[in-house]
């Protein structure tokens, strides 16, 4: 006979007082709603429950479900740190030769901490404000720059750009959107006058055809991918285009494995067939677009046979894709960084905009343009003005009326000159034009192209303040490090890839003496003589919202537990608009901008015969600062790798798991090979997250002329097998 009394009373386990908090996932642009259950005594999160959010309907992925424990990691920064005299002249603090007993992983604290001393908040903040003020007063505002974060809230982004503009005195403020979708935004703003998505992800359920190009949603937008797969099962036909086969291709009606960097040729050929076979929407073209004649003229030169040669896909597949798009009632276009991260990224996006426009696929259910945004708040950070050429809501800094309005609102004179972008800041730091930087929640020493050059720039700075939750690779160059708040400890609003503005709530208490990011920004402003006084985060939101049209009707109260899509005319009775531009575009008519195919500048040659593309894996985020400190995520995905085609592996003498040396004109990394036919012959792939096999030692810093985005998805490298049966012993950033 069996008794259940013991089990029913739950006597066996150790009791823990816990608290459930409704908030958001801190990772990607999908913006999943989640409930975290935290151990209130030990200030740590125990587990996650999916919440019925507009973007996730209770679903989560591995990062949201299991990647929360970075927040209570023992390495959280808990005191302000000031660089010791002995650690000057500045430079990278990690030893160039990594000790063999400590392979891989994030920055080794034992290497860094001895070079810093703990300081009081007053000392640290006075030092930061004093040094920035000295540089500004001596060299002018142009000598200061700020890198904000798309991981922060809208309120933090708003305050950060206000600090740089109103107090530093320049428009040198940018963030990692420059590295992910700057070109998409440039093309969208030029084409329709708005950089945000026209239709939400889940609208794919109403699409006949979805065109997914240069994206890997099962890894990078995993919960969005579940809705895409669901739609595919229910009858939406997916056209998947990529040069590295994504898992979503298994659900595709048609997969086009195109040669890297040839998207413009493909888009032009699709446009060519659509126009040639008269599969276009004449009324839409007439009433809602301009520039069709010129577009038609340009794409005449791109018959499918020509594109087939350039892209290395069969001409009949291009014909078939065009016909699927042309015959469909509703087509939704999704794209990711395989489109945007090219030196012709803006041209890539222009082609997609033209495809949607000439087929009339905007402004209706199941249609539209959706650049899948990466970070949880990259949309919001851009909306809030963390961009060197725009004030909040994409109002140009060089428009005099706009500037006057902001000068009046903020009570200071503002610079009319557009500022420096991420890559330009680093260049200016190297040349000495930028002398001081404030970096909040960014890690350019791993995330930016050609990190050897980034090292030179950061070393050359007269003063660098880094505000973060861990010692990052970038913090190695800091004069002062300010311990800040993680997502799990703050109140704030975040805008997801769908334009849904949602509130995050604190789950944990701040560790040690760490402080809220928004307070620190205000402290620096105040100590530089500019009043930044706010009673609450909600009050900051109100000031931000008042400076925009998109957020004007919203407030923390109006957002409530579920958030709202913007625009939202009546937040009390409506969730906002999941579909925009039904009748017209912000720019009136859409501008069709033709693009000509140009091969990437650094083509493979005899010395560097492979094309390297970088990207991400499901389990990791950006430079791994958070995810590599999550026990679960690190256990599932502990180290970097290079994907190589089986044919190439054979000729290189590489077996699966062997270590290879990958070199470009800018640097080299040693990394384990993973043999897979997901990558095309002649191409290799390395994820960007792993500092000890840092893909960005190799990448090409050349940028797109319009979006100023680097071409992370294309550079020439050589690969050499290295017979070695021990673990990867790497030389980080050598």
């Amino acid at each position: 006979m069996k008794r259940f009394a013991d089990a029913l009373s739950r006597a066996a386990a150790q009791p823990v007082r816990s608290r459930a908090v409704d908030t958001l996932c801190p990772y990607c642009g999908v913006g999943c709603a989640v409930t975290y259950v935290a151990d209130t005594e030990r200030n740590r999160i125990l587990y996650a429950r999916g919440r019925d959010g507009a973007a996730n309907a209770g679903r989560l992925c591995v990062k949201g479900r299991y990647g929360f424990d970075y927040a209570d990691h023992a390495q959280r920064l808990t005191h302000p740190l000031i660089r010791r005299e002995s650690a000057y002249p500045k430079g990278q603090l990690s030893p160039l030769e990594k000790r063999p007993e400590k392979p891989g992983g994030p920055v080794d604290y034992d290497d860094l901490l001895p070079h810093f001393r703990e300081a009081s908040w007053d000392e640290a903040l006075d030092l930061v404000a004093g040094r920035f003020k000295a540089i500004r007063d001596r060299d002018g505002g142009q000598a200061l720059a700020g890198l904000g974060s798309a991981k922060g809230s809208n309120e933090e982004a708003y305050l950060f750009q206000k600090l740089v503009r109103a107090v530093f005195g320049s428009n040198n403020v940018d963030h990692c959107t420059r590295l992910c979708h700057a070109s998409s935004v440039a093309a969208l703003v030029e084409g329709i006058g708005s950089g945000a998505v026209t239709n939400i992800v889940r609208d794919i359920a109403r699409a006949d055809v979805a065109f997914l190009t240069g994206c890997n949603p099962t890894a990078n937008h995993p919960v969005a991918a579940t809705f895409m797969k669901e739609a595919a099962q229910a009858g939406t036909r997916l056209i998947v285009v990529n040069s590295r086969r994504p898992i979503i291709a298994e659900h595709a009606a048609l997969y086009l494995p195109i040669r890297p960097g040839t998207d413009v040729a493909l888009h032009n050929a699709l446009l060519h067939v659509l126009i040639r076979d008269d599969l276009v929407d004449h009324a839409f073209i007439r009433e809602r677009t301009e520039g069709f004649e010129q577009l038609a003229e340009t794409v005449k030169a791109y018959p499918p046979e020509r594109a087939a040669r350039l892209c290395d896909v069969p001409a009949q597949d291009i014909e078939r894709a065009a016909r699927m798009i042309g015959d469909a009632h509703a087509v939704l276009f999704f794209w990711g960084m395989g489109i945007s991260q090219h030196t012709h990224g803006t041209d890539n996006a222009r082609g997609l905009i033209s495809l949607a426009m000439i087929t009339g696929n905007v402004g209706r259910p199941g249609t539209g343009l959706h650049p899948l945004r990466g970070q949880n708040n990259v949309q919001g950070a851009s909306d809030a003005g963390l961009i060197p050429m725009f004030y909040p809501d994409y109002q140009p800094v060089d428009d005099e009326d706009v500037r006057r309005r902001f000068e009046q609102a903020w009570g200071v004179q503002l610079s009319p000159q557009p500022g420096l972008t991420v890559t330009e800041m680093i260049k200016a730091a190297r040349s000495g034009k930028v002398r001081g930087m404030y970096i909040l929640g960014e890690n350019p020493f791993v995330s930016d192209p050609d990190v050897n050059k980034v090292r030179e720039g950061l070393t050359n700075l007269e003063f660098l303040a880094v505000q973060d939750i861990f010692l990052t690779e970038t913090a190695e160059f800091a004069d002062v490090i300010l311990p800040a708040s993680s997502f799990m400890e703050k109140t704030g609003s975040y805008t997801n890839t769908d334009r849904r503005v949602q509130l995050g709530s604190p789950v944990l208490d701040l560790p040690g003496e760490a402080r809220q990011d928004w307070e620190l920004i205000c402290e620096i402003g105040r100590r530089m003589g500019f009043a930044m006084e706010y009673g609450s985060v909600a009050q900051v939101f109100d000031e931000f919202a008042a400076a925009t049209r998109a957020y004007a009707t919203l407030s923390h109260t109006a957002l409530g537990a579920r958030g709202r899509w913007y625009p939202c005319a009546d937040p009390e009775h409506s969730e906002g608009d999941p579909i925009v531009f039904q009748d017209s575009f912000p720019s009136g008519k859409a501008r069709l901008v033709p693009a000509r195919f140009q091969p990437a500048e650094e083509q493979p040659d005899a010395d560097y015969p492979f094309v390297l593309s970088t990207g991400r894996v499901l389990e990791h985020w950006h430079t791994g600062t958070m995810t590599r400190r999550s026990r679960a995520l690190d256990a599932i995905s502990p180290e970097g790798f290079m994907e190589v085609h089986p044919g190439d592996a054979r000729s290189l003498g590489l077996r699966d798991g062997d270590v290879a040396t990958v070199r470009s004109r800018r640097g080299e990394v040693r990394i384990r090979a993973r043999i897979t036919d997901a990558v095309l012959p002649g191409t290799v792939f390395i994820p960007m997250h792993f500092r000890e096999a840092c893909a960005n030692l190799l990448t090409d810093p050349r940028i797109d002329p319009d979006g100023k985005i680097p071409g992370f998805k294309f550079c020439a490298v050589s690969v050499q097998a290295e017979r070695c049966d021990v673990g990867v012993v790497s030389a980080p950033h050598r």
């Binding site: 029913l8 386990a13 259950v37 151990d39 125990l46 587990y47 679903r59």
Partner: protein
Amino acid sequence: MATEHVSLTIDGRSVSVPAGASIWDAAARLGIHIPVLCHDPRLRPVGVCRLCVVDTGERTLAAACVRPCQDGMEVRTDSEEVEAHRRMLLELLLSEQPDRSAREETTGDDALYALARRYGIREILLPDGGEGTPRGRDASSPVIDVDHQACILCDRCVRGCDEIQHNDVITRTGKGYGTRIAFDLDVSMAESTCVSCGECVAVCPTGALTHKAVRGLRLEEGA
């Protein structure tokens, strides 16, 4: 075109629902929660656990989660026969359960245990089906514990994996008493194509699939 509606009574109360709605959904509208283990509103109903049986006046009891409402139907959800049926099913399921439920002990939301309490079951008079023939565990995943002995083969994880997340990793394998869930072509969870989204843990009603992170911790949720 207006949706067609059907009218019926459940435990003597009238309700009108769109044609095609299940008895379970219709009862939920009336605030009557028919006990169920294999069904969840986010999942396609399959009617495998049979705990949601109700009396429709027909020869046999019907599973409310899959049985569509019909006009004029008179449903009893709590007749003596129905309750005896459920109690027997619970005892059969409990007789094979391991001594401890990793879900009940930690997050305290084991649905089988909750029903055992609701039906006042403290002792199982049936022979212990699990004795000597443990179905085994799979602790290979870094995040998820699998206790096959606690699995009641309700298929919620299979549907969560296939139909919510569309990862198509979990299935069933084996026959008779040895039937259990399996990953891919019956490899360990860690070796499988599982992407650790945790949906299976979220939908599992028992201690079969649980989060490793809370192991050994009895969560007492409060403000």
